[in-house]
Symmetry: C2
DNA sequence: CCGTATCCAACTAGATACTG
DNA sequence: CAGTATCTAGTTGGATACGG
């Protein structure tokens, strides 16, 4: 994304390898190619779009309504465009008036819902532990601050 | 992270649920709790720290050396602190001189390496398809731009 | 209805210098 | 060695207005 605020383009990637339980890369500088997925998963809305589309085809407005946390029109556009560019989402425009656009997961996109589900499962399963860890961590930090004051 | 540039703190989260192949949330506003994981997975370096620590305990400097793409001291500090706060990484300080600090995955952290591995596997497996999808998409976009010029 | 364009606010990340 | 502090640049995300 060299210039524009609206650009969808992203950088390139290289080769990597995963072995057994321990993750290894052939060439250390290549980032293992994981960045490809992470860049898409890492942004604020992509996962939710995939989640909503996992249950079927949706129109723009309908998709927007379903996304949690009130996604703006602009962000939804950017998000679906990036997903479309990566071949995870298919966009179908019906030249009606008013215009109608439908979004659905591609085969590739559907193959990723398993991962997203795994992520969600893990997250939900370990939420209490993580929450407690954060609470404990913050408490210690606060004490340290109070003590030094 | 309300104020500081150096702060480690992050917002809270709520309840969610995953059912079958389709992902569902009980209350639509709760973000399904997936954000918890994603926030950590989404930042630039966390995954690489987890990857490197998946093969064992490491000191700060050693960890820094191994991370791909030349992580700065500051970013490594921020990253491991966030991971520590979430209970994914354990930080052990030996009060020697010069100081020595060791980082290792906790049980929780190790339970996440499976996910990271799944992510990496998927990424590597589908890299060609994604690359081709992007190429095709960009080509069409460029044509459109050229056509309108 | 489905966007795009523009402007602005917030956060993330890098470089560099300094400390226990 | 293992950080913290500071400053700055780049990127992401939100609000709003307008266009096909």
């Amino acid at each position: 994304m060299s210039a524009g605020h609206t650009a969808v383009t992203a950088p390139a990637q290289v080769t990597g390898e995963v072995t057994g339980e321990v993750i290894v890369c052939e060439t250390p500088q290549d980032e293992c190619g994981v960045r490809d997925v992470l860049d898409r998963l890492g942004d604020k809305w992509s996962v939710y779009v995939v989640v909503e589309l996992s249950s079927g085809k949706l129109r723009f407005k309908e998709l927007q309504r379903r996304i949690h946390g009130d996604i703006s029109q602009r962000m939804l556009t950017l998000t679906v465009r990036r997903l479309e560019r990566d071949g995870l989402v298919k966009r179908t425009v019906y030249p009606t008036v008013p215009p109608q656009v439908e979004y659905e997961l591609t085969e590739l996109g559907r193959s990723m819902t398993h991962l997203v589900k795994a992520l969600a499962d893990w997250s939900i399963e370990h939420r209490p532990v993580i929450a407690e860890a954060r609470r404990a961590y913050d408490e210690v930090q606060d004490e340290a601050k109070a003590g030094s004051a």
